[in-house]
Amino acid sequence: MESLVTNLLNGLSWGMLLFLISVGLTTVFGVLGILNFAHGSFFMLGAYLCMQVMHVVPSFWLGILIGPLAVALLGIVIEKFLLRRVYDRDVSFQLLLTFAILLVLDDAVRIIWGAGYHVVDAPKILAGTIPLFSHSYPVYRIFLIIIGPLIGIALWSFFHFTRWGRIIRAAAVDREMAEGIGIRVPLLFTAVFAFGSWLAALGGALAAPHQSVAPSMGESIIIESFIVVVIGGMGSFPGAFVGALLLGLLESFGTVFAGRAQMALPYILLALVLLIRPRGFFGREA
């Protein structure tokens, strides 16, 4: 019973992190039409920068504040000076560009911080464990489970109830129309991309106490978030949520009944969705 609950909580906490990453990826795609291969690198940078801040000032909260903001700034620079030049080009070139950015960022991390892994401690309030049945369970993961939906609700409310949120959604659906009614689309695109990068980095900073901070973080998360958005449906907010939780739980319970084959489970899920419902659970018609 307790392993069931443990696995459930593990799956949920991991799912929430996946959700944060994926929702940024899917939003950037929905509005700019660009799939950012370097999104996982932003996640990783968020973790590393948070860690770096904590080396200077041992405050996790400060790390979580500054790290993602720095990455958002990087996102602005990347969007303005690189991405903007390929908006009107073939999709393949857009993908190649973000892929090249991934190469640069991932290796940059390796150069700056070395190839080894680092440990980040959770802040005192969230450190430690609470008793759960006859075991103890990390408080930090519970924190993730709570904060995930909170951020999700905040985001969803932003997109559905605020003026800017609706403007972003309008621009996502019809760029020309949005420009026609006076929305400065280029500025909007920069803002959305920065926002997506910020979200990814926030996820990374939040993930830092949860797993070790290592240069391979970026590449493993990007594949998982790709799977999440494909099964959830590109551009779909609820899709990212459902897909992320599904994947998180699958991976968590997978270790129980599948052993080493657990690694193949996300791909099996991906294959099933592609066969049965190619556009994803919440995706629009292709």
Partner: protein, 317 residues
Amino acid sequence: MKNHSGRPKTVIFFIFLIGFLIGCPFFLPTYWTFIFGEILIMALFAMSFNLLLGYSGLLSFGQAGFFGVGAYVVALLILKGWQSLTLIMLAGTISAALAAAVIGYLCVRRDEIYFAMITLGFGMMLFTIAHNWIELTGGSDGLPLAVIPALKLPGFELSLFDPRIMYLFILFVVLAGIFFLWRLVRSPFGLILTAARENKERLAFVGADVRLVRLTAFTIAGGLAGLSGALFCLFNSMATPGFMHWSYSARPILMTILGGSGVFLGPAFGAVVFFLLEQVITNVTDNWMIFLGAILIPVVIFFPQGILGTLVKHFDR
């Protein structure tokens, strides 16, 4: 894609090039034989990739998976004691093609962006299997080979132990593969592929099952990637999971973009450039992905046709 083969200058150039390639192990130090051998294998790998990008308009991030399938099947069969090199190579190629057919069936259901994501995903799935299924694949250590069966030709046997013979074998197989691709792109199917890249909707509305067209291209590309992998396994006397990682998938992509996806031999040219860059950069630093990425960025933005592509355009004016 323009057809330059009619020009006599080009033909003579290629005759000289092939002559050089055949003769070089005999007048250059062995070191160069190794280098050219590796470049040739990578050139085939990159050209198989370009069947998808340049000719079908599909950007696949998972070709290393099929490369690896070819390598591993060859290694496994040799370790099992198979003796016929030809059969072993064939088995490697066909296994890779089969894997590509199965995975391709799932990938061609969606378009460009999804296609890129899904191919990355399944490519990494193959890597994960190779990395974790220790009993079969040796895990992260891979499968080293102590001996390689000799090539049995009518009348005599050729041992591939001699690097020059190995090189010539590689040259032969690679040239055969490139020739196959050449015939393919100039065949009716080649035209249909190009049409699928240019206007897949129109193609459907003149009667083509676009998914099947793409699946066929994907299968062929996967098979050829597997053939390159098979060669690489023989060349290195081992198969390792590193061959299947997405960072390895990045190689044919970079080679093709550097050389130019719009020219038939662009990727091969790109393989040479890539190799040179790799030698230069790794002499200076371990972190060469960052340099590759840094080079790729301006190439993608300013020279999307690649080096050869830009040159060709220049001379066509």
